[in-house]
Point group: C2
Chain length 296, copies 2
């Protein structure tokens, strides 16, 4: 399965951003890509750097956005993983990955389940936690375990997708550095982000694709200095082995993903066989307090 | 917390093995180690390369083994993580990590929960799956999340220890290569083993220690060629960053583990805050079949 990971910087307007993305999708399709994965909230800026009720306007165009990317998938005959700001009802918004099949039909959606909130990433203000569960999306290229960004830190999310039969884990994402952090801390953060995801690939015997934003985006509220998205989009195989990895700049990463490799690796390392589901009850608790409380 | 990871090759007899280990513990204690972690089944060979009822004899000395290592912990004033073959009743055996405190008392035990079984690693024949759950052991140096070998591939085990308040994850282990495997496959296996564990450290914001065997051990049944244990014992911090890493040969790895670092890292990355425990029910299932079956 030839796959394109499209890593971009924000160009300043939705129109120019869409145009840049369209050109890259055309290029990827021409190069034979059957699956194209875009970064988180790829139509605009990463707008969660501050909280403003006005910014919910960005979700007003959700239906039109869906139609636009559906047409794009159809035009280029690719399975397309988009990442959009969904208005579901007044006051109810989601961070939603919409997956289109080659004919432009909606193959499925995933609403981001784990929502972060820390300085510069005020997502709990904007996004209602997803309610579609961890359900993979069936497409003509395979069953895709689409998750989004913060989910990538949660082994539970990856495992649930694997248990539901996902053949590949896919993460559109938006993560970067604060310029004021020291270099060694920056290195630890980037390496942790890569490592935990490669770990999910290993634990589940599945290939994995992560597509991150590139470039610097200012905090328009002026409170913080902004985020330098670190790029480094990558794909790895079911033993966590790198198949391709981008740098920090804009890039179309083309990579061949062999979905059949999982069968071989899982025969060697049959982790699913030996899970102790009789002893995993505690995973449904918030914390296992030592006082003997059983509150969840 | 100054910690010693003692990576050894099997010396051919239990007596010589114990003697070598004692010397290394003495050396580590002299160098200031407060916590000493030994490799899986450190008193003898990795005997699971073939199935023989005679080999259950190795568990007959369990009580004496416990007394021996208790005395050792006391003599050197260290918290000691041992890995023993436990006879619990006739026909009922476990792969058990016994943790001793500095005064020689038993701080706690962990019976290996996930039991592997593949050519050369016939553990399902020897070890009954543990029934003590994923419960950390309280010691004078902290609450230790002791797990064993095959557990290291399971994010569930690490998470449950973290939820129960473990301050560090610890894995005595026995893993290696078959000489006939090609070099690229060997490299993928070693890297996968390291990556998945570093991933647990990241996902849980906890430091992690893995102590592996070194050296070649023949398959005495003559069916397979034997296992070349790959060493590479290591310790990493709560962002998965390497603190120390051994080579393939015998080594005492001394490393300072800062248990307070987790507090800082978890404030930055509060993964425990955002777990979707309302949506994790599927983790208690064997597989989420697409036919709509709800069998677990």
């Amino acid at each position: 399965m030839k796959t394109a990971l499209i890593q971009q910087r924000y160009t300043g307007t939705k129109e120019s951003m869409r145009e840049a993305t369209l050109q890259r999708i055309a290029k990827a399709a021409k190069a034979g890509a059957e699956l194209v994965v875009l970064q988180e909230l790829h139509q605009g800026p990463y707008f969660c750097q501050f909280e403003s009720t006005d910014l919910f306007d960005l979700a007003e165009s959700y239906e039109e956005d869906v139609a636009f990317w559906a047409k794009t998938a159809q035009k280029h005959g690719v399975v397309l993983v988009s990442s959009l700001f969904e208005k579901r009802a007044p006051g109810l918004y989601h961070n939603t990955a919409v997956v289109f099949d080659k004919d432009g039909s909606i193959a499925g959606r995933y609403r981001k389940m784990h929502i972060p909130d820390d300085p510069g990433f005020y997502e709990k203000f904007y996004f209602t936690p997803g309610d579609l569960g961890f359900t993979p999306v069936d497409t003509s290229v395979g069953r895709l375990g689409v998750l989004v960004c913060w989910d990538q830190w949660y082994p539970e999310a990856a495992r649930l997708m694997a248990l539901a039969g996902a053949q590949v884990l896919i993460y559109p994402t938006a993560i970067g550095w604060f310029d004021d952090d020291p270099n060694d801390e920056k290195a630890r953060q980037l390496e942790a982000w890569i490592t935990v995801q490669r770990g999910h690939a290993v634990a589940n015997g599945l290939p994995l694709i992560a597509v991150n934003r590139a470039g610097f985006e200012k905090d328009e509220s002026g409170v913080l200095k902004g985020i330098r998205f670190w790029g480094n989009s990558f794909a790895c195989g079911p033993q966590g082995e790198f198949l391709a990895r981008a740098g920090e700049e804009e890039e179309i990463l083309l990579v061949e993903i062999d979905l059949k490799r999982s069968e071989t690796v899982r025969r060697w390392w049959p982790f699913l066989r030996d899970r102790r589901i009789d002893a995993y009850g505690g995973l449904l608790r918030r914390f296992i307090d030592q006082s003997g409380q059983t509150t969840t």
